[in-house]
Symmetry: C2
Subunit: 345 residues, 2 copies
């Protein structure tokens, strides 16, 4: 069905029908000039936003629309968890190019709705319009954290332990694989990509999850990180952010960086440097955080979290300690979206 | 200066330097995974968002970047006022095409900052990336209203008076004029558009204001509208929204619709129907609201507000009463952004 048959309001009605409200705090949802929220008493409100543009942030050649919607929502939730908060509401703005049908947009929206169901988030508003160019997705997420309980980037202290959840570099290697298969498929209509044994890195790229579980585990363990952020641009870049904001330096150990075996195999197959992928690949959406040295035992007992180094005084700088014990300055080689180059090209 | 010289973080630093925080409620601004807000006790939080795309919502041939920034912010504030709230914070996401320099983006941002200074709003976050297509601007505004004091679209009751602030149709006629001059200038490098005596309609199109003053006046007069929204798509469209949400009908009088003489002159010059422009033009950003009949005297004493009709039972439908006393059904002929046609073309 052509979108023009429905018009803006018809399309919004269709996309947002049967949208149950999950939170007491969502007092008024879609359909007015603004949504009305009543955050829980004693809570701070968190706000984060992401803008995703076709052919800059995603390539519809290999990204299914439902996955794209899911990921677009989850990356925002990840930012809220990275503040030690809980995502509660999102607004979804779409700029839709003429080549999309109503069914395409329903597919995209079904991914957003799925993510909201999985993470318990209400869709409370947005804006929908036509785009003369590619697809535009702008999502803003509203979250809550106990008053004064939000964790910033700026609280890391000398001797704090640096921790990271999950593993790194997989989403980046997944992207490399997708790009390789895209090139291989050119001019070949019957091309079937072979992702056997590489499902994990593909999933990390196409359908990442936000670490709600880690935030819950930290809370259960009675650990309050001194600083935290999510790994979206790459570990190096994020470590430099934390150290700059906190006025510290850091040391991370190459042999402590968690890497999945599929990531390692793919790097070998593509003849790429594995540590570079893990340090600079980005889009991992894992949590990077620091805890006081006194929390060492508690952290060691937590599943899915690894201590990868420690915070130092600022004058020691930020460095990676390699397997042979030498130190290499950390540089932010993460993706610079203003360099206008697609990752992996 | 090329934007790639600065990179994303360099550009953000430059755009947001010396950004004073105006509100106690803004606990943490730009520079972390999310902003931290602490709304005033006893206040609800309002959220609205707008997505603006080049050549869909604006034409840089005649829209100066500073004005564009100003308008992009103000249209969001307008949505918050339309809920009987006060805008407090915005996030600003930009997709920047390669043809823009750092100075261009500074110009755009200076308009956004100016609007925030005029209306007392903090810029607390955003996302900046390159666009392979045109300029993309996505702004989300967070506002506050006293708990339960937000005014929705759905509260209009039979016999309520329908009121509108300012005048209507001017922004639309301003757009017609700008489009006419754009066409006239084609192939003529030395072309100087003649806007003499038409400054008001040009300003209404390029630099609209949100009616903060009317919200303050209503409060002073002790008037709480039963329903309210801002006129962005056109009076007809908005009236139908209010009546649909409230389960009512309405009658508005053609001869009561406030129209500025510049709007009328321009319509005559362009041989366009003036009432159509006022009913369906849109982008007026005036407030449309309903009040109980008992507030009639109070409303009559308010400057800049006009009673244009009244709410009826639903079965009477929504109609315009023309000067000769006949009734014409109201239709939403406002701009449908998904029809992918630019206004005025």
């Amino acid at each position: 069905m052509e979108i023009s048959e429905l018009g803006e309001f018809g399309l919004i009605d269709r996309l947002t029908k049967e949208l149950p409200i999950k939170h007491e705090s969502t007092k008024l949802s879609i359909g007015d000039d603004a949504a009305i929220l009543r955050p829980e008493k004693g809570c701070d409100v968190l706000v984060t936003t992401d803008l995703l543009l076709e052919n800059v942030h995603f390539d519809l050649t290999y990204v299914p629309l439902k996955h794209l919607g899911y990921k677009a929502a989850v990356v925002n939730f990840s930012d809220i968890y990275a503040m030690n908060g809980q995502p509660k509401q999102i607004t979804v703005s779409l700029g839709i190019s003429k080549r999309f049908t109503v069914e395409h947009i329903e597919e995209l929206y079904s991914g957003i709705r799925l993510a909201c169901d999985v993470y318990g988030v209400d869709i409370v508003g947005g804006d929908t319009c036509s785009s003369h160019q590619g697809l535009v997705i702008s999502i803003t997420c509203i979250g809550e954290a106990g008053e004064g309980k939000a964790v910033k980037r700026s609280g890391a202290k000398d001797t704090d332990l640096i921790c990271v959840s999950g593993d790194l570099g997989a989403a980046y290697m997944g992207l490399q694989l997708l790009e390789r298969e895209k090139i291989a498929s050119r001019g070949n209509r019957d091309f079937q990509p072979d992702f056997g044994g590489k499902e994990y890195i593909i999933e990390r790229q196409l359908k990442p999850e936000a670490r709600k579980d880690i935030i819950a585990d930290l809370d259960k363990a009675g650990i309050v990180p001194t600083s935290m952020m999510d790994v979206s641009d790459g570990l190096s870049s994020e470590l430099l952010h934390i150290c700059k904001s906190s006025g510290t330096g850091c040391r991370v150990y190459e042999d402590r960086i968690p890497i999945d075996y599929q990531t390692a195999l793919m790097a070998e197959e593509l003849n790429m440097n594995l540590v570079t992928a893990a340090l600079n690949g980005g889009e991992d959406y894992e949590l990077l955080f620091t805890v006081p040295l006194t929390d060492h035992e508690k952290i060691e007992r937590m599943a899915g979290v690894k201590v990868i180094g420690y915070i130092t005084k600022a004058d020691l700088g930020c460095a990676l300690v390699t397997r042979d014990g030498s130190e290499i300055s950390l540089k932010a080689q993460g993706w610079n979206p203003l360099a206008a180059e697609k990752k992996g090209e």
